[in-house]
Symmetry: C2
Subunit: 500 residues, 2 copies
Amino acid sequence: MISNRIRNKKLLDKVCTAKEAAMLIKDGMTIGTSGFTPSGYPKAVPLALAELAKERNEKIKINLYTGASVGDELDGVLARAGLISKRLPYQTNESLRESTNNGCCEFLDMHLSHVPHYAKLGFLGKIDIAIVEAVAITKDGNIIPSTSVGAAPTYVQMADKVIVEINTSQPLELEGMADIYIPEKPPYTRPIPIVMPNDRIGTEYIPCDIDKIAAIVITDIEDNVRPLAPIDEISQKISENLINFLKSEVKNGRLTKELLPLQSGVGSVANAVLAGLEKSDFENLVCYTEVIQDSMLELLDSGKVLFASGTSITPSAEGLKKFKENINFYRDKIILRPQEISNHPEIIRRLGVIAINTAIEVDIYGNVNSTNIMGSRMMNGIGGSGDFTRNAYISIFTTPSTAKNGEISSIVPMVSHHDHTEHDVMVIITEQGVADLRGLSPKERAKAIIDNCAHPDFRPMLLDYFNRAKEGKYKHTPHILNEALSWHDRFIRKGTMKID
Amino acid sequence: MISNRIRNKKLLDKVCTAKEAAMLIKDGMTIGTSGFTPSGYPKAVPLALAELAKERNEKIKINLYTGASVGDELDGVLARAGLISKRLPYQTNESLRESTNNGCCEFLDMHLSHVPHYAKLGFLGKIDIAIVEAVAITKDGNIIPSTSVGAAPTYVQMADKVIVEINTSQPLELEGMADIYIPEKPPYTRPIPIVMPNDRIGTEYIPCDIDKIAAIVITDIEDNVRPLAPIDEISQKISENLINFLKSEVKNGRLTKELLPLQSGVGSVANAVLAGLEKSDFENLVCYTEVIQDSMLELLDSGKVLFASGTSITPSAEGLKKFKENINFYRDKIILRPQEISNHPEIIRRLGVIAINTAIEVDIYGNVNSTNIMGSRMMNGIGGSGDFTRNAYISIFTTPSTAKNGEISSIVPMVSHHDHTEHDVMVIITEQGVADLRGLSPKERAKAIIDNCAHPDFRPMLLDYFNRAKEGKYKHTPHILNEALSWHDRFIRKGTMKID
């Protein structure tokens, strides 16, 4: 068994307990880990690290760099132990979110394609140790990643030392699904030779200098994947609106029935949107995305989607079980790439990806907030939404038109935080309808968004703001600056954006 | 003479007066023109169109799409005649700016690389007529562009009819400087084969179906280029700070003395920054930029810069004279590309361009406003700054720390319009100093920007805001929403951001 997983006998000397491996991690170090939207992240070593710090009553602090969100065994445990000084680039863990928002942990919210790129250029400082979850290590010391690739290839390349967590709960059949390609640094960068989503351009393993492998830990802790909320009526309506929009694009000759490669953000609305495709009459679809969720597997099952390229497989517990049981069916229909490639502007623009992401709020001029609630409170992070939106063939944002039982309007005069600007956002979809902003000036956009996307409870208030703003001296992007953020301020003070 | 310029005898039948050509333009049409940051734009036909409308007392309206800013003969004359219904994607003309801000003209502010891309995908509607300034038309009807390429190749490809302005003030020696390459639409797009700034990948002419050429107008009106302000003390200091920053990158091993391809925005500060390179000890530099200004020509003169790729040549009147007199020296040191290529994310990221652009204002968290003064008043537009910033090796924004005789702080609690978000901006430089934001969390950025870039008159006010914001409940991006835009509001009401 172990010889299947560790294929170089000399490496058996490196096998140790999680605690022994954790002892390599010192105060002030920067740790780069595998893991993306929580799958394929190291589990045993961070658990041991927290335990060790508690035992020794040490207040060590580390910088924790991952691919995207990771499970509670990494983010949650370390955040609660107060061990994280700085964290990048994305997270969904409740404890880490609390640490970020109460000021205990500095969080750096980055475009996911930028993370390995900047790390490689030396802009994120030295990476001391990389910790990578793997299904196996090859004879030459190369690492076969598990359910995600993320930024692990670059962290391994940059780190002084590598800790490998061999996770026996991850099937060996994952071998062959990864395609690892790390672009050279400028001026030696060459065109990335992907012209179809299913092009393979790299190796099945993460290249690793065998001498860097400092510890190998055997574990069987399963990916702590997140349950998906059932598809509610609002998500259902958003999905229908999206499908109808895509149909009209086909009708107008701007897309074919095969569409173009699809990218979809994570979460329940995103899942509903993909589920909607199942019942549509689009066919022979392909995906070039980040995360492969349940509905993507179902689309592969039915043959509606022929192929999916991503950087991680993150279904629900049930979906994961199905995936593992039918892995031979999925193996040649899925490629897992480094996030530098899955989210690369070059490839997204070349393939003409249709990008579908979720907004927290949208303003009347088409700016989108994906991250900071009421301007200051970090939710998860921008993730790959910026990589895809800026370079998409069509960039779409979905959001329910209200939140908090109707007290918050997701359409506001001005977003309280800007992640995607008016220059990048093409289409807004709520359960109310679709605003197609392509070719529209700011004032034309305002009309389209208020009329088609805002909830009727807030539509008159938005129109009132817009009309009064247009009375001002400068009418390009009409605003009343001392009122533009007053809806958020009212919510903070009174718990509602509505006026009494 | 004319046979050098119009090389197909049959096309001589198409030669007509500007007025006759202008009569092809009807109410409601969308016109796509050559021209980029004002050079190489059509002049005679728009002048005649305005005259014609006046003569006939017609109130026709057209949509005017260009490459970037164009001269007064196009933007100014048509704006003052009230003929422009919608205009994209960038402008610097006073009359057009007034039309935009008083609501007479709808202006759509776009990333310049997106313009031909979206036009080609049909997202900007039908292009009825393309008007292109040229130095010549080949035997096959292909068009040799003059001092800019811009979006003309795509407008010609998309338009029903093409009007060519042969401008005899533009030297025939410009032939050979253009390199025209239009990527196919997805799913047929292939890697753009540029790996060095001086790679030639296309044709010397804009491909044009000869039957589309509906009119040819001969003119000799010169490019109405803009004078450059002399380099003042503030620009000088910004330039010094920038050079010192680049030196420290070389010292830290993140750049070599050859640096990487440089992009520089337009205007006087940008010009000063490039002039600073002349005295530096960097060597064998190359540029991959949009606009070739005076200081770029001087850097080519001295051999400090070996090669420059751009989409337009726009020196001052004096610089233009020098360029024309020494065109044989410059011919093999400059390539003019379509703006889809000069600004393409694929190439910018591959080459590792160092992007240097000008901000109107910057906030303490590193968001940049490049376009809307006090949130609503359009200045020029985002231009290519977003294309370069997002994909740059290092993205730098420069701005004097104050404006309006010190009454406006260019560093504010929250920018009043967001063009570049915290996710994209790496370095801020004012005459006060340099804030290197790479790897910093929002609160760390605030400290760096306030300490290093803010003017001493405003530093205590910024610190006060930041410190009070940190007292709030959510500390990821601390803001006080009912105060975040109060500095702008105060300026609008009192003419100063200072507190009495």
